[in-house]
Symmetry: C2
Subunit: 413 residues, 2 copies
């Protein structure tokens, strides 16, 4: 990898050679991939990118930690749409809003970006089995991306994982272990099993390559905006890996001169599980919390990537905001009705946080904001139906239709 110098511990600064099966530092700290930006500047230009027909995350290979000879992974991950959400921007009282719908990825979440990277690196490592623990999306994305590449998977999910995600796992042929306990207990069991059997490790807080996959979401946002930097990017935060990846992509682009400033991040967590935001608010260390929210993907009481996530929020002079489950489900409806985007609860938590901050007058009226939707609402249908209610149910009869409209106060124009 001519573009990669090495990996470096974010805690103690120790340097590691960037071998494919890197895990954490001996001090327990998380590693960060360090690039040779001078080299990258010589091989990547905006014009070169603009001419590329590859509409997947692999269009950014010069900024990704893979060998030049490593094949692109089979599923088409990334290059998700960035929608102009003018109606919603008006409602929120801001100048411009863009919604990045990462729910259209092959397994319907942003996590496909990390899983595609895991598959690429597992192949470099010569591995045939990959394993992870996950609240659900990392799991289903790994199972799908690995199946397409002919690799086997062992996957650990907490028993609360919604049915949609479990159905994906089973269909993709993963060996799935549903752990009767918290995400923390799930993570620990996966770790013990990975240690025991030597599987390739796709735990995003251990394998430093994965947030490099996730960072492609911000590379895309910036290319899709014509390199015009927004004022804020809002995203939901659980384990911390996604916001860390988002920030890494932005810093990469800044380092190679593709953008001339950096946006402020908006870290949105659920009120019932917000250890990272609480650390920012109190200025102290993070402390474990209960996992008390229906936004299952970000119900992470012991965030495994706290260091990188807190660094990202602080470096960006970011805002933190905690939202209730009601605010999350209201944001799901709001995005559906104004943008035609159906996000899962955790997927719309960034938008819920943005809405709350706008309501509190914390976002200037002339701001341009990007809100990332990290997963598709079809993954968790039960909560959507609970929030939206059931449809009108009648026999196929016009009189019954008229009566139903009247009873439901529907005036047809």
């Amino acid at each position: 990898m001519k573009n990669v110098k090495h990996a470096k511990c974010v805690k103690c600064g120790k340097i590691y050679e960037a071998v494919p099966n890197l895990t954490s530092c001996s001090c327990g700290g998380i590693l960060d991939i360090v690039y040779d930006y001078d080299y990258i500047r010589t091989v990547l230009t905006k014009e070169k990118l603009a001419a590329r027909r590859d509409n997947s995350m692999w269009r950014y290979r010069e900024l990704l930690p893979v060998e030049e000879t490593t094949e692109n992974t089979p599923l088409r991950v990334g290059w998700s749409p960035l929608y102009e959400a003018d109606t919603l921007a008006k409602q929120l009282g801001i100048k411009k809003l863009y919604v990045k719908d990462d729910g259209i990825n092959p397994t319907a979440s942003l996590k496909d970006r990390a899983s595609a990277m895991a598959v690429a690196k597992a192949r470099e490592a010569g591995a045939e089995v990959i394993a992870c623990s996950s609240t659900g999306n990392a799991a289903s994305s790994l199972a799908g991306n690995a199946a397409a590449a002919g690799l086997r998977t062992y996957i650990f999910v907490p028993s609360r994982a919604p049915k949609g995600k479990v159905a994906q796992l089973m269909t993709f042929g993963a060996t799935v272990i549903s752990v009767q306990g918290s995400y923390e207990e799930t993570f620990e069991l996966s770790k013990a099993a990975i240690d025991r059997w030597g599987w390739y490790n796709r735990n995003a807080a251990i394998n430093p390559y994965l947030s490099e996959g996730k960072k492609t979401v911000s590379l895309e946002i910036m290319e899709q905006l014509g390199w015009e930097v927004p004022d804020y990017i809002a995203i939901s935060v659980g384990d911390g890996c996604t916001i860390a990846g988002l920030w890494k992509g932005l810093k990469d682009l800044y380092a190679i001169g593709f953008i001339d400033k950096l946006p402020r991040l908006i870290s949105a967590q659920a009120e019932g599980c917000c250890p990272l935001n609480r650390a920012i608010e109190t200025g102290g260390d993070w402390k474990p919390m209960e996992e008390n929210t229906l936004a299952d993907s970000i119900a992470v009481g012991v965030p495994r990537n706290a260091d990188k996530a807190l660094m990202a929020i602080r470096e960006s002079n970011g805002l933190v905001v905690n939202v209730s489950d009601e605010e999350i489900m209201a944001a799901q409806k709001l995005l559906g009705r104004t943008c035609g985007v159906f996000g899962e609860p955790a997927g719309v938590t960034g938008a819920a946080g943005l809405k709350k901050l706008c309501g509190e007058g914390k976002i200037p009226a002339d701001a341009t904001v990007v809100s990332v939707v990290t997963g598709n609402g079809l993954k968790d249908v039960a909560n959507a139906i609970a929030a939206c209610g059931e449809p009108i149910s009648i026999p196929g009869d016009m009189d019954r239709l008229l009566r139903a409209f009247e009873e439901n106060g529907i005036v047809v124009e």
Copy 2:
């Protein structure tokens, strides 16, 4: 529309001006949009297409029946991935297989192509409300595409529609009427309501523009294959509109000289509901059937677009194949495990049919085949879980994991 001559009844040949709110012929026949291919040849070349950055169905505007001034619709519909499925091709004993995953569309089905067209034409007609009846996917795609465009929707679904599709509808803010009855009864009630209130009609078998949206799936397949025509294209068939649209796109490309031959279509229906395939097999007219399959999207006992569908299958010298629900669910697993593609039951029925035909020796070993997956498996999680089973469920403990592996006959390498 310089590229469109007029609409013509497929039954009696009567000609209609191509106004935006076209419905059926006075004789009851379905209309077909007739293009000026000589004109289109002067404005569209393969090179022009290749240079286009628009990775949505609107990249084919010269072949679509919209006014030059009509805006592209907001959601990014189309340009779904076409995967090389080498492992599966080997298993099926054919030379080459491609899988077109249309489940990655914004609302997760091929129907987005028709709904985007409906929104474009409704805007041309100055309509503010669109209505349809649907087994589910047309409904959710209309609700999503209309919401993004600021239009309101009234939607009629049979009460058997899976929860995922209903959740989408409710989130997108549609007024949803769940009809306690068959698809036929649902269709009739929607028709009566549309007549009564004059809503813009998105019933694909009445509005002739909709299969023109659907045809973009074959325009894409051919462009993605570099205009190399496959021997067969396999697709599931319900109402008949989708296979009719698929065929129309191929004939368009043939008419403008982009391809020099036409593939044979494979029409796959469920054994429990196969009125169109039965008509082909018997050589007679189609007759109504019960709607007896779990593949809800194609459980259409009274196909509304029989004329165009039968014509497409016959003109292409097509094959028909009926599959059991067990064969459908086996195909869902097979696609998941070999391709990382999770399709809904109706979505994988084309693949199930292809598998069956290969098993019967009806597809030559040197054939190149495209199988279209028309919808995402997340729309119908209940059936997927019933077919795949539940995961291993244990507390977070290594001893329990070892015991569970042993009990389930899992040998870890």
